[in-house]
Amino acid sequence: MKSAVITFPGSNCDRDMATALELASGVKPVMLWHRETEIPAGIDLIAVPGGFSYGDYLRSGAMASRSPVMAAVREAAARGVYVLGVCNGFQVLTESGLLPGALMRNAGIHFVCRDVKLTVENSRSAFTSLYAQGEQVVFPVAHHDGNFFADDATLDRLEGEGRVAFRYAEQVNGSARNIAGILNDGGNVLGMMPHPERAVEDAHGNTDGARMFRGLVEGLMAAA
């Protein structure tokens, strides 16, 4: 599996993401700066990492979603290339229109930085194929704007179409229906606030995130 990791000014999880991808695939990801206008040929997965792109100016993810590289990511996603957005990456994906809804300030105002329990709601996606439906996993979260909002019709559609990939199993940030991660209608774009890339090695204290990357490698190698 060939992957690319986007770096915006202010990204700070890009190297963690690259390490997690390399650990699972054995191939170093291509690092793409925000000014790039093309995704190199042959890339199977693009990761949009966490951080504070452009200092979170205007709204989290707003400036990054209008940067040149995101036009290329949108175009690649439309071709079926897989896209994983984590934390700030999820905010960038909603701001770019690749995923519905918006991430607002946490309901409790505070920045939340801790391990949280999640329930795997959809284990049929390429991102979640190595998890069991309804399984509980623990991923770290670290965000200020993780409060997922969408209107009721959109939430009903997401639930009805099985596009809620992960749900918080505890109260974290006030997200509508405790949604932690969602898929696009094609199933090739996942955005989530918790950090799977921070739970891939024993030294992290927990390796629940490793199966996401291994599942992607297996799934995308089989498809290639």
Binding site: L58, I109, G174
Partner: protein, 77 residues
């Protein structure tokens, strides 16, 4: 030519910052505050002749996220 863009959260969208401001006002002893909603004011200094359609597009494409926010444009001079 200048324009002011007021960006506000849509009704029904929870505003944690407004709530915190509300609590702080109450903490200072101000009673009778029913609700607080926080928003943004963005001032644009524009070339003369910038069309209303362009200003509107600036708002809908970047300045406001219309999933959660409304905007209002006020032209000055």
């Amino acid at each position: 030519m200048k324009a002011r863009v007021f960006v506000t959260l849509k009704g029904g969208v929870l505003d944690p910052q407004g709530k915190a401001i509300h609590h702080a006002l109450e903490g200072l002893g101000f009673s009778g505050v029913n609700d607080v909603r926080a928003g943004k004011l963005i001032e644009l200094d524009l070339a003369d002749g910038t069309s209303d359609a362009d200003i509107d597009a600036m708002c809908s494409k970047l300045l406001a996220n219309t999933v959660i926010e409304n905007y209002r444009i006020e032209k000055i001079g």
